[in-house]
């Protein structure tokens, strides 16, 4: 935890800029703010429609369900791909959406459901690597791009949304916002208040892909090959 060579380096920059070193900078009032106009005034239902439309473009299955039917929906998603091993994010939202009970029932039915547990350390990663599906909760959902924002933390390890072939995001409808502008603002406001940003913020838009071979779109490279969003009406 050290900073090396800073003074020499920054003095050189200030010198090139023909002035003394600056110890503060005021962000200018930018002359235009087009980002504010995207889906301005849209309500949650309209944003959900936008999300559904975008999901078609990003090769992502978008399902809408209620909290009561979330268990059935999840089971349907797994069965469709014959997935037996599942790794899920934990934390307070597990209870809030009744997922603890759902997972318990599923375990009795022969599924292996692992809930991320910091006590188990790196074993979580090994389990995630073998799992067929990873389940996470979206913290902020961007309608325009079809993006799930994850503030990765002790309950939501980075591996869950990365290592299994199928990526499943549970999206509370209330988390829908127009675009990345609103998510960035939340983080910026928190920073200003002195609440530090999470060690990893993952903006995830559908499955992994590449166009590196002759510009052909290949869906599923290093990350998940398949993505499903389950929007839960929580409003």
């Amino acid at each position: 935890m050290t900073v090396y060579n800073r003074e020499r380096f920054l003095d050189q920059l200030a010198g090139q800029l023909g002035r003394d070193r600056r110890t503060s900078a005021e962000r200018p009032a930018y002359s235009v703010q087009p980002q504010e106009r995207v889906f301005q005034g849209a309500d949650q239902d309209q944003l959900l429609e936008k999300l559904k439309e975008q999901c078609k473009i990003i090769h992502t299955n978008c399902l809408v369900t209620t909290a009561d039917e979330l268990g059935e929906t999840l089971r349907h998603v797994w069965d469709e791909d014959h997935i037996q091993n599942i790794v899920s994010a934990g934390g307070p939202r597990l209870e809030a959406y009744g997922l603890s009970d759902i997972y318990e029932t599923m375990r009795q039915d022969g599924y292996h459901v692992h809930v991320w547990d910091e006590q188990e350390g790196r074993k979580n990663v090994t389990t995630a690597e073998k799992a067929g599906a990873g389940i996470v909760f979206s913290d902020v959902t961007l309608a325009e791009s079809g993006t799930v924002t994850l503030f990765n933390d002790r309950w939501n390890g980075r591996s869950i949304s990365l290592l299994p072939e199928t990526f499943v995001a549970v999206i509370p409808k209330s988390t829908l916002v127009p675009r990345m502008t609103q998510a960035a603002r939340i983080i910026h406001e928190q920073e200003k208040k002195g609440v530090p940003v999470s060690s990893c913020v993952s903006f995830i838009t559908g499955p992994s892909n590449s166009a590196d071979i002759e510009m052909n779109l290949i869906v599923g490279v290093h990350g998940p090959v398949k993505a499903t969003y389950i929007v839960v009406d929580d409003m």
């Binding site: 935890m1 050290t2 900073v3 090396y4 060579n5 800073r6 380096f9 050189q12 920059l13 200030a14 090139q16 800029l17 070193r21 600056r22 110890t23 900078a25 200018p28 930018y30 235009v32 087009p34 980002q35 106009r37 975008q54 910091e118 350390g121 979580n124 990663v125 690597e129 791009s145 993006t147 990765n152 933390d153 390890g157 980075r158 591996s159 990345m180 502008t181 960035a184 603002r185 530090p196 940003v197 999470s198 060690s199 990893c200 913020v201 993952s202 903006f203 838009t205 992994s208 892909n209 590449s210 590196d212 071979i213 002759e214 510009m215 290949i218 490279v221 290093h222 990350g223 998940p224």
Partner: protein, 478 residues
């Protein structure tokens, strides 16, 4: 590798590019797709010109206060448990990374795509320290196996076709399946997964650092950058010193511009923002985080007329519209930064001596300037480079300087000018057929090798004009 990728001459490189039919076909089809994607994304978003203006304002403000924002960034990274190393040169950066690798007794390093590490030649340095270095971006992995340099900054293996890629996989990795891109990619997934899990160190680049929170943001599609920053215990992020924004609010705008301008996506599959080390109760992500901030010639651009070249967000939109790149391909530029931005940036970073031809690899059509999402006046920079090369650097050939001196004398001597315009037709007659010259002599050869040159008119303009005036006087008198 360094910024320069080979030793062949400019003329040889161009000829190779022009003769490579597959590459030219691949490039023109890719340019078409990229361009359509970008235009469609811009139209869908609306207010594109406002977005570009905002992008330019953000970049201008950030560069003008770069010392402050880099200070803030380093403070924040340190606060979040990271170590920051400011490197003035490529050597300093490499030595630092080697030192970390040695301390960790690292044997395997996995990398995600990063132009700046190509620029400083980090892979070679790490290999010298006894590390196995694995590039994990699909395109970069193909190039690494084939020991070939990148030809495009977004899709580095654009110049290769799938059967060439298959052959490389067969030869180097014992691949047995077809050249179907899906199968090739599935093979890469399977091969590289083990590397990710075994690696001691993950090396990433940085698309945008956020000063206010000490965050490094990576804009990717394949998921390899997430692997590299999730699985190894040590992460080293290397960034060019200009790749920074003040706050998350600016980050969001530049990311939106980058993904649209680069590939026409609203956002790429993964925008990953990493801040320092993993927290105490977290189990994945690095426990040791290093940020290396690289100057390597960039500060010399600051405060000069070329400062806006540092605004570049590496989207390659200028490359994707360039008619010259379309015909000669990325390797002709002999720089890891090809296309219009490469022609502007490479001489600034690496000097005119080895790159004096690059500013001429442009038709000055200004398509690049129009495509740039942060409004860098690329073609104007190219013109300025040419002026400097001719006037200050005297980097033109002796023959050209002699010819120009001769031209000046000739054109300012009315008698000589008159005589030669009168004689041109006669002198060139042996090479003239049906009003055009198909195989010209001496200096005309280069031109007529590719296209016809119109034969000089039988009468010079001045003779024709004199005769016309005489006729009119005569008519007036009648």
């Amino acid at each position: 590798m360094s910024i320069k990728i080979g030793t062949k001459t400019y003329a040889d490189r161009i000829q190779e590019g022009i003769d490579n039919t597959f590459m030219r076909h691949a490039v023109s089809s890719a340019q078409g797709r990229f361009r359509t994607g970008r235009l469609k994304a811009a139209e869908e978003l609306g207010d594109w010109e406002d977005w570009r203006t905002l992008g330019e304002e953000i970049r201008t403000h950030t560069m003008e206060n770069l010392d402050y924002y880099l200070y803030q960034l380093s403070e924040q990274v340190e606060k979040r448990g990271g170590t920051v190393f400011f490197a003035e040169t490529a050597e300093e950066a490499n030595t630092y990374v080697q030192k970390v690798a040695e301390e960790k007794q690292a044997r395997k390093v996995v990398k995600s795509k990063s132009m700046v590490t190509e620029e400083i030649g980090l892979n070679e340095a790490l290999e010298k320290s006894g590390c196995e270095v694995v590039e994990s971006d699909l395109g970069e992995w193909i190039l690494q196996l084939d020991e070939d340099p990148p030809s495009h900054i977004v899709t580095p293996a654009l110049h290769k076709n799938k059967s060439q890629i298959r052959e490389t996989f067969v030869k180097k990795k014992g691949y047995t399946k077809t050249d179907d891109p899906e199968e090739l990619a599935a093979f890469a997934r399977e091969q590289l997964r083990q590397d990710f899990l075994e690696a001691d160190i993950g090396v990433t680049g940085c698309n945008f650092a956020v000063a206010e929170s000490g965050t490094v943001t990576l804009v990717t599609n394949e998921g390899n950058a997430r692997m590299v920053s999730t699985l190894p215990d040590t992460q080293i992020a290397v960034m060019g010193m200009e790749r920074i924004v003040p706050t998350w609010e600016e980050l969001e705008v530049l990311v939106s511009l980058l993904t649209r301008a680069a590939v026409g996506q609203k956002l790429t599959s993964y925008i990953t923002s990493l801040t320092g080390t993993r927290l105490e109760n977290e189990v994945d992500g690095p426990e040791d985080f290093h940020l290396v901030i690289v100057d390597n010639g960039r500060s010399k651009i600051l405060g000069t007329e070329f400062q806006s070249a540092l605004h570049c967000i590496r989207c390659a939109a200028c490359i994707n519209v360039c008619p010259v790149y379309r015909h000669v391909g990325g390797h002709s530029y002999n720089s890891i930064y090809p296309g219009p931005i490469g022609a502007v940036l490479t001489p600034l970073l690496d000097g005119y001596e080895d790159h004096k031809e690059l500013p001429y690899a442009s038709s000055l059509c200004a398509a690049c300037t129009e495509a740039c999402p942060v409004k860098i006046p690329l073609h104007e920079h190219l013109i300025r480079h040419r002026e400097i090369i001719v006037e200050k650097e005297q980097k033109t050939t002796k023959a050209e300087r002699l010819a120009m001196t001769g031209f000046a004398q000739w054109a300012s001597t009315p008698a000589a000018y008159k005589l030669s315009t009168k004689m041109a037709g006669t002198v060139l007659k042996p090479w003239t057929k049906d009003g055009s010259i198909k195989n010209g002599p001496g200096p005309m050869k280069a031109w007529t090798a590719a296209r016809d040159f119109p034969a000089p008119a039988k009468k010079s303009f001045r003779t024709w004009f004199d005769e016309r005036e005489k006729r009119r006087e005569k008519d007036d008198r009648l």
